[in-house]
């Protein structure tokens, strides 16, 4: 059974600081997704990572994938308050049948 774990579960950081969220998964997968969720809202797609060594960047967020280590990271650079949200990684099971979500990381960026 595919398991997906994120750490930390909660992250409080100051504006301007850098930090990394980690996503580990237990079995081989075809792709990995990162999502953002604001309170009471649906999921907003951030990144889709398809292959080993993939790196994608959008603004202050950068995601990478190491399929050999079964690890993805979401790096936050010079955090701003607007990045406060919950971030989920999700792993696609073989054949694109369904997604298994990580535990989520609640990020709070303070001035």
């Amino acid at each position: 059974e595919l398991k997906v774990e994120q750490n930390p579960l909660f992250l409080s950081m100051q504006e301007g600081k850098n930090y990394t969220i980690y996503c580990n998964y237990s079995t081989t997968s075809d792709r990995l997704y990162w999502y953002r969720q604001d309170p009471g809202k649906s999921l907003e797609s951030l990144f889709v990572l398809l292959s080993n060594g993939a790196v994608k960047q959008e603004g202050r967020l950068m995601a990478s994938l190491d399929t050999k280590a079964r690890l993805s990271t979401l790096h936050i650079t010079a955090a701003v308050h607007d990045l406060s949200a919950t971030y989920f990684c999700a792993v696609d099971t073989a054949g694109f049948q369904k997604l298994v979500f990580g535990t989520g990381t609640r990020l709070l960026v303070s001035p």
């Binding site: 792709r31 997704y33 009471g40 809202k41 649906s42 999921l43 797609s45 889709v48 398809l50 989920f88 999700a90 696609d92 694109f96 049948q97 369904k98 997604l99 298994v100 979500f101 990580g102 535990t103 989520g104």
Partner: protein
């Protein structure tokens, strides 16, 4: 990108009643997925719905409690039956679209259900 419309966006229901959630997609999709997100938790897949066949339920979810319909390739409903306060959650529909290298998962706006 595809547009997916989910309703109602929220509801407050009495225990013992049922609520049907609708999900409409602006293009034809083979599989639709229904997720539950309990307060402060991650998303858990309830079932996968294919058009023309019975939904496939994940462990811990049964058809009598969460009946699903998929009458065509653009529409699906999830019913939460005989509700109890433990069913208070956000329910989301989803589908995968795109070719292999560009496959993405799209989500509805979610239905926030409170059972009192």
């Amino acid at each position: 990108s595809a547009v997916i419309s989910q309703k109602p966006s929220r509801d407050i229901c009495q225990r013992g009643t049922s609520l049907t959630i609708q999900c409409q997609v602006d293009s034809q999709v083979t599989m639709m997925f229904w997720y539950r997100q309990q307060p402060g938790q991650s998303l858990t897949l309830i079932a996968t719905a294919n058009q023309g066949s019975e939904a496939t339920y994940e462990s811990g979810f049964v058809i009598d409690k969460f009946p699903i319909s998929r009458p065509n390739l653009t529409f699906s409903t999830l019913t939460v039956s005989n509700m109890s306060p433990e069913d208070s959650s956000i329910y989301l529909c989803s589908f995968l679209a795109g070719e292999f290298m560009n496959t993405e998962a799209f989500f509805g706006q979610g239905t926030r259900l409170t059972v009192v």
